[in-house]
């Protein structure tokens, strides 16, 4: 009897714990789904909810390398199991010269299949991009260096972090002040928070934009510039991502002891997938080799 009691003493807490562990794990990793046939190797950690908004994110793409094309092909394949509507680009869309041939080699060829599927790309300018990229039809910037687009319940703000002058700051404040969207997502090139050794956090930019993000309830900030993947621990209620390895990689660039990092990856190129359903934003980061390097869900708390 005594022994049975001792056993119960061990088993009951284990049983209780086992009830909670799967829930916690699901919250962090989402529902992992694999598809059969041609796309059997693709692993999806997103819930594919009815009526959800789905989009992809790539950054620092425009190298024209074979690895960029391989990642583009993988992104295209993922569309068959996760039909994303559009792609956000984090800047450095074209490295080096910008002749018509460069536009082909560094953008329209690597993503040809995606473009042919009528998926729209929305770009932002990086420090390697000439200003006239804003007039390129496939970047959908409509001649503007900073702009807002609305998709479902989400407002996206593309900013020009190369040249954050007072005019742009005022525009951002004015637009955010009247924005009643459920989700507000800002995307631009330079990361206000980053644990990469090459560039790292852009304190100067953060000094200007962070108070605005806080004041007007921006939920998520997507950036590039550092050629790595990093999910930053929420900063003052805002979720920051660095997704700057869509075409260039800086292997081993993440400062491993950084207190900012929630999750990071600097061993291969990657892209990201997002799904917004009501008050949940699910995300998955995928490497060029098809490895899920991060996934999870963000609950909308800032309203």
């Amino acid at each position: 009897m005594k022994r049975l009691f001792k056993l119960n003493f061990l088993i009951v807490p284990l049983l209780i714990a086992s009830l909670f562990i799967p829930v916690a794990s699901q919250r962090l990793n989402g529902n992992s789904t694999s598809k059969s046939s041609a796309t059997s190797s693709l692993k999806l950690s997103l819930p594919l909810k009815d009526g959800s908004l789905r989009f992809a994110v790539i950054g620092d793409t425009g190298s024209g390398s074979s690895k960029q094309s391989q990642l583009g092909e993988l992104m295209f394949q993922y569309r068959s199991i996760f039909p994303y509507e559009f792609v956000l680009m984090m800047g450095d869309n074209l490295y080096g010269s910008e002749t018509p041939k460069d536009f082909e080699k560094k953008f329209s060829d690597p993503y040809k299949k995606i473009l042919d599927s009528k998926v729209k790309f929305y770009a932002t300018l990086g420090n390697h991009d000439l200003a006239l990229q804003v007039n390129y039809a496939n970047f959908n910037m409509n001649g503007k260096e900073y702009y807002r687009i609305k998709k479902g319940s989400v407002a996206f703000y593309s900013l020009n972090s190369n040249y954050m002058d007072q005019k742009q700051v005022k525009w951002l404040e004015d637009e955010l002040a009247k924005d009643t969207s459920d989700w507000k997502v800002c995307f631009f090139h330079h990361p206000p928070y980053s644990s990469a050794k090459k560039h790292g956090s852009d304190d100067q930019l953060r000094e200007v934009v962070e108070p605005i993000f806080i004041k007007y309830g921006v939920n998520v900030v997507l950036t590039g510039h550092d050629h790595v993947y990093e999910r930053i621990k929420p900063q003052k209620g805002i979720y920051y991502f660095v997704s700057g390895a869509g075409g260039k990689l800086r292997t081993g660039d993440i400062e491993s002891s950084s207190p900012l990092t929630e999750k990071s990856y600097d061993r291969d190129l990657h892209f990201m997938l997002f799904e917004v359903a009501g008050d949940q934003m699910y995300f998955q980061a995928i490497s060029r080799t098809g490895e899920t390097i991060d996934s999870g869900v963000i609950a909308r708390t800032r309203k």
Partner: protein, 207 residues
């Protein structure tokens, strides 16, 4: 009657206290607003010589923009949703036409000695102190191989552009949307946004 007076005094007191609370709140929120935007506050210009230098700079910039916009009228039209070929044709035409129209342009036409002196002093102030270490890193980390500085010729396409921190832009004389400040090492440039042509540059801008 006394009661009435008493009530009146009470109302007045409530009104005064209420007003003080409102004023205190307003002052507080104004201060909060100021604190938030302090980094973007333009410098206060007190010297008459500096005021004159800035005025001359602004009128030179205005003259450039007028000339540029006239030249632009003759360039092929660039739609908001253009092709790479249209972008290249427009950029090349604008660059060549600008060079022709500004045939006699030379370094120092816009960055006169007076405004250069003002800018150098302004930048020196901004680059002082330990907290400005990051600012120096941002400006000097840019890889600038292949950048040749020549008035009326384009900034090399293959070179990256240094980020212009917002806090610094706020302190410089306000330019226009057609022109951009850029750093190349310690040099400061004025670059035409669309054609990428270097309109003027000044040496030893940064301390």
């Amino acid at each position: 009657m006394k009661h009435k007076i008493g009530n009146g005094k009470k109302s007045a007191c409530v009104l005064i206290v209420g007003s003080l609370v409102v004023i205190a709140f307003a002052v507080n929120s104004t201060n909060a607003q100021k604190t938030q935007n302090a980094a973007l506050a333009p410098p206060v210009i007190t010297s008459a010589a500096d005021k004159a230098a800035i005025q001359t700079f602004e009128s030179q910039v205005k003259a450039y923009v007028q000339l540029r916009n006239k030249v632009r009228e003759d360039a092929p039209k660039l739609p908001k949703k253009g092709t790479p070929e249209q972008i290249q044709a427009y950029r090349t035409a604008l660059e060549e036409s600008l060079r022709k129209a500004r045939g006699g342009a030379k370094r120092g036409d816009i960055f006169t000695p007076e405004i250069s002196d003002y800018i150098r002093r302004t930048l020196k102030n901004e680059f002082q102190g330990k907290d400005r270490k990051e600012l120096r890193e941002i400006v000097f980390e840019t890889e600038l191989q292949g950048v040749v500085l020549r008035v009326n010729y384009p900034y090399a396409q293959s070179a990256e552009l240094s980020e212009m921190p917002a806090t610094l832009l706020a302190k410089l004389p306000q330019s226009t949307k057609e022109l951009r400040y850029r750093f190349v090492g310690r040099y400061m440039l004025l670059v035409d946004r669309e054609s990428n042509v270097i309109v003027d540059f000044m040496p030893e801008a940064l301390p």
